[in-house]
Symmetry: C2
Subunit: 341 residues, 2 copies
């Protein structure tokens, strides 16, 4: 099976390889009729440019890297899918690279990926986007990168994020509007910068409503189902039991919900439960969990857009490369009127 090359196309169209290259890459300065002749030859021969030859001679690889902590999570799946489809639409490919910060050789692995793959850009997912040692690797390699939901906006990176604090405030207001006053909060892990933003939103809304935060009812979790169950057990055995529990992600909310069931508490009649993220687990429950829809796939797609925008390399600080995407509160069955005494 002989491979069709740019020479074959050039010969058939009666032009030079350089002209074929121009047509393929959509450059200007080609007469319309020549362009058409080339396009016809491309179609007839079913020609496909060799990505490696192209990468070797130009400085581009048409490859984007997605650097992510835990590629198995539901969060990662959504992010990846959003990035993948947008890459495809832009004729790029996506390489997923797990960042194993727990392994001593993680820097070496990342540097290997960056330099041998000649990535054109990188998307860095939370929480590792907040790891300065990691981000420095990209800065040092002069590799354009976009941070997803970072704690701060850097001028050397693009950023794509949602307003975690405002979303958490809205969720808290939703619970307050149902008459809840004693609202518990399950914090995320400190390693995720979003945890602090969500907690701040919760506290801001409580303060604005004049509702006191019971510090015994603010518990640390680690975004896992299990930690949600543990927090639920402790919260529900509190002398002054909360009438609503706001867990700062869905997996933990599901844990709280299951615990409530084990304790024989009706949701939402005796306890309201809310989550954050709108992952599959918030829908795979009964009742389904009221949550915040985080635009994960859209954020990843936007990151691809930024990385493939030729202007990005020149002025990364431009506000148009620091996006804030809208979230939404999704009301479902797990929250309702406070019927407590």
């Amino acid at each position: 099976m002989k491979v069709v090359t740019i020479k074959d196309v050039a010969a058939r169209a009666g032009v030079s390889p350089k002209t074929v290259s121009r047509v393929i890459n959509g450059e200007d300065h080609v007469r319309a009729e020549v362009r058409e002749a080339v396009q016809r030859a491309v179609a007839e021969l079913d020609y496909r440019p060799n990505a490696f030859a192209r990468s070797l001679s130009s400085s581009r690889s048409y490859l984007l890297g997605l650097f992510i902590d835990d590629p198995v999570s539901g969060y990662a799946a959504d992010v990846q899918h959003g990035a993948l489809l947008r890459c495809r639409a832009r004729s790029y490919h996506l390489v997923v690279e797990p960042v194993e910060l727990s392994r001593p050789e993680w820097r070496e692995q990342i540097r290997g990926s960056i330099s041998s793959l000649k990535l054109d850009g990188a998307i860095i997912a939370p929480p590792v986007c907040d790891e300065p040692a990691l981000v420095d690797l990209f800065v040092g390699a002069a590799l354009p990168h976009v941070l997803m939901a970072p704690s701060v906006e850097a001028m050397t990176s693009g950023t794509v994020r949602m307003d975690d604090e405002r979303a958490a405030r809205e969720m808290t207001e939703h619970l307050l509007a149902f008459g809840h006053r004693h609202i518990a909060f399950v914090q995320g892990p400190v390693s995720h910068s979003a945890s602090a933003r969500r907690e701040a939103g919760f506290r801001a809304a409580m303060a604005a409503a004049g509702a006191a935060v019971d510090e015994r009812a603010v518990l640390r979790g680690d975004f896992t189902f299990r930690s949600g169950m543990e927090a639920g057990e402790r919260l529900l055995s509190l002398k002054k039991r909360p009438t609503a529990i706001f867990a700062s992600n869905d997996d933990m909310a599901l844990g709280v919900l299951i615990t409530a069931m084990k304790c024989g508490l009706a949701v939402p009649e005796q306890l309201s439960v809310s989550g954050f993220d709108d992952t599959a687990s918030s829908r795979a429950a009964w009742p389904q969990i009221t949550t915040i829809r985080q635009p994960k796939a859209e954020m990843a797609a936007a990151a691809v857009d930024i990385l493939t925008d030729p202007r990005f390399r020149r002025q990364m600080g431009d506000p148009e490369f620091h996006l804030l995407l809208p979230h939404a509160l999704i009301r479902r069955g797990s929250t309702g009127l406070c019927l407590a005494a």
Copy 2:
């Protein structure tokens, strides 16, 4: 930032580029002292081979493709992670390519990936591994590929699978051993060949135990949580209610479990529920769901091993490239003694 090339290493080590190439690729016929000198130069210069130059001059890309229907599912996440880590260990990279059979241009997309990326091999996940039109694309392109959990073993492909039928039989026997006789079964979608195998295992075990299968209690689902809930509702409203429900994947089992709770049935006291796959949803429930552990990550890793084995290209029919990986029955809280009259 100047890039270190093979020439720089050669100059430093006082040898020719070809010798450096030999050392890097682990070829024979290099004197130990020369080898060491080269390795020293590589380390000192922090040299990393340019993957594109290598791919262009050799016929290899060091790139494997994972072709998968729904890259967002929990199943996909496990598969991907298993493949990713093994690729990394073998100095390969993984490109995930969604197969969107519903889009008319899907063939074109796949062919584009195959030819422009010059993939060294492909892993084809279920259920699309059972789509002949898809597999033909790889056969036609002479691209080595491994099918995951296909309905049949082809001599032109490697295969990695588990024994779905036997696993389903074991699960059914587990329920029978608890004294259940009236066992309902929730089938998977016909598009997944595993559905039929799991159902066959269920029926074989029932027959072997002399337990009649009530055909009204065999319902079709589509592997989603929702279809599990629907099946659960119908099964629990049956005049002759089953004492156990075996759903052929975990998402559906979770749907059944939630439905049982809504109906006020205690699990496992009044109803045993079992699933299949050991995905996150089987653990994120209360009680946790008894299930079959499908070695998803191991299967994907084994597929990478096959594709990177030089012998595979020569004799794909060899039994060593058709693997059957062991499964395990995971007993958890959702199944128990039949306490029905």
